[in-house]
């Protein structure tokens, strides 16, 4: 720890340093702000930086630490927040022109919880507009680059949150994951990214994309850091009827664990380099004493088409609220119909329009049964398939992404190619199960992640396995 710049510390290391007085929270926060100043013109991680507010929050933590108070684990830790999560009195844009000037009227529940922890908010991070994308190229304001290779994407939709942590601009961050938007950018940027079980974390104050799938999750350098952030934000919230208290499944030693890897991963669409890292991860777990075996998970390769019916359908309904009247920008016109159409046509970007129209199509009379109802039944099939597999094994191990981070612009004109980046992440979302991406190595400079999917409320269990695997990435 002694040789590391402060902004490169893990949360665990920083929390220890703050308590032993090795440095202050203001030092830590300024170290992150310096990284923002030095790198963000090129990277584009942030849409808004809270320079003065973050230092003021850090000063308050330092004052309490100096007074000998026992503070929560995240006190004084600089975090970055995806700009689809509301922070009161700050702009919240979802990276969309339609919300360009929207100021949040309240804190999201996760922000309230992080305030109770006395975490420091460095700023709001870039994303694909309304979280729709896999590269953070769909933001209305700027693109974000991958800190490991600036010619490549950081992933998406929480690409700004991933780039910020990978570049040392924050110690950890919050993203949201609908079909892989925390795990895929975590994999591309060499981080741990956790998508909690559906309902484990309140969605109150998260700008909705697809409500049956959206979950807020942490991105961090290490599994232990992700655990601390997750513990801080989880729990039932009366303001989100889908949230609930968790009952974590009992811990097991690695030697007692059974881990399955789906045969289907080897069938199509996953690059040989990524598969070789999966094999190395399997070997590592076996060496550590876990029983690892091949399992049959036939639903896995149907998850992406199911997702691309259900998510756009829910998005088309959720985004109907952007009418230019109650919030967001309004394009002037004489009639209500013109206001709606002009506001939405100029306020939404191409990918958002594409998904709204696709959702409108699959929900419309004549297509509903063939697409939406079929997809809902297929979603059930996926849920049953995973439930059955997770009776046989404690966790499922698979790649997070089919390839390493791709080049900027490489998939911008081919929506299906872009969607395929989420080939292996949508299944856990549709099943409502927790999943974590863990960095296990690099191909050249490009990080590679593997994913662990577990039973409901097995986040800590998965992070334990993640801790065993992240050692592989350090060898």
């Amino acid at each position: 720890m002694a040789d590391k710049p402060l902004n490169q510390l893990t949360i665990v290391e920083a929390a220890q340093g703050l308590r032993t007085g090795s440095f202050s929270s203001v030092d830590l926060t300024r170290s992150c702000l310096e990284a923002v100043d030095q790198k963000d013109d090129g990277l584009g991680s942030f849409l808004k930086v809270f320079r003065e507010e973050s230092v003021a929050q850090a000063e308050e933590v330092d004052r309490l630490l100096a007074a000998g108070q026992d503070l929560p684990p995240l006190a004084g830790i600089p975090l970055a927040i995806k700009d689809s999560i509301m922070i009161r009195e700050q702009r919240c844009t979802a990276a969309s022109r339609i919300l360009e000037n929207h100021v949040a009227a309240y804190d999201a529940t996760v922000i309230e919880k992080l305030r109770q922890q006395m975490a420091v908010f460095i700023g709001k991070t870039n994303l694909d507009e309304f979280s729709m994308g896999a590269s953070t190229e769909n933001s209305a304001f700027q693109i974000t680059r991958n800190p490991h290779d600036p010619d490549r994407v950081p992933g998406g939709s929480s690409g700004g949150s991933a780039a910020a942590v990978a570049a040392g601009q924050a110690l950890a961050s919050l993203g949201s994951d609908t079909g892989g938007s925390v795990r895929q950018p975590a994999a591309f940027c060499g981080l741990v990214g956790l998508k909690p079980s559906y309902g484990a974390v309140s969605r109150y104050g998260l700008i909705a994309f697809a409500s049956s799938l959206d979950q807020i999750g942490p991105m961090a350098k290490r599994a232990e850091d992700a655990r601390l952030v997750f513990r801080a934000i989880c729990g039932r919230d009366p303001k989100d009827a889908t949230s609930r208290e968790r009952v974590e499944q009992p811990a097991k030693k690695i030697a007692e664990m059974k881990v399955g890897f789906p045969e289907q991963c080897f069938e199509r669409g996953v690059s040989p380099e990524i598969l070789s890292w999966l094999e190395r991860s399997i070997s590592s777990l076996k060496e550590q004493g876990a029983e690892v075996k091949s399992i049959d998970l036939p639903s896995l390769m149907y998850a992406l088409p199911v997702y691309h019916v259900i998510a756009p359908a829910e998005a088309s309904a959720n985004l109907a609220r952007y009418d230019g009247l109650r919030y967001g920008r309004m394009e002037g016109a004489d009639s209500l119909k013109d206001i709606y159409a002009l506001t939405r046509s100029t306020g939404f970007g191409t990918e958002v329009k594409r998904r709204i129209m696709l959702g409108t199509y699959t929900l419309s009379a004549g297509h509903y049964d063939a697409y939406y109802q079929k997809a809902q039944k297929a979603r059930k099939f996926i849920q049953y398939d995973f439930e059955s597999a997770l009776k046989e094994v404690d966790a499922i191990l698979l790649p997070t992404t089919p390839t390493v981070a791709f080049r900027l612009g490489e998939k911008a004109d081919d929506p299906v190619a872009m969607y395929l980046s989420d080939l292996l992440t949508t299944a856990a979302s549709l099943a409502g199960l927790p999943a974590v991406s863990v960095p296990v190595g690099r191909e050249g400079v490009n990080p590679v992640g593997v994913q662990l999917i577990g039973r409901n409320d097995s986040e800590e269990f998965l992070l334990n396995i993640g801790s065993c695997l992240e050692q592989l990435g350090e060898q």
Binding site: Y106, P305, G328, I339, M357, L358
Partner: protein, 96 residues
């Protein structure tokens, strides 16, 4: 293939006004996505029943929770008159 007439109708339903170039691109892209989604046809799931598994006890009571800072919410309105949202006439023009 989603034809031009269907794309026009979808845009109208979604309150989106798209240029000819946008409509053409949308038609091509949506067709590509639906072609991909069509692989679901090979999946036999007719036997699966769709039932709502939530228990009533899991849901919160259906009672309004007053929001503390209403003025701040009202400030988000694009136009307002007092506490009311101001919008153009819903049914045609004002005729005295």
């Amino acid at each position: 293939m989603i034809n031009q007439r269907e794309i026009d109708r979808l845009a109208e339903l979604a309150y989106l006004r798209l240029s000819k170039a946008e409509l053409a691109r949308m038609s091509r892209d949506e067709t590509d996505v639906l072609d991909y989604v069509d692989r679901l046809k090979e999946l036999k799931v007719d036997h699966i029943a769709l039932v709502d598994e939530r228990r009533r006890a899991d849901l919160r009571p259906d009672r309004p929770i007053p929001f503390q800072d209403k003025d701040r919410l009202l400030d988000s309105f694009s136009a307002r008159q007092g506490r009311f949202l101001k919008v153009p006439f819903v049914f045609g023009e004002q005729n005295g």
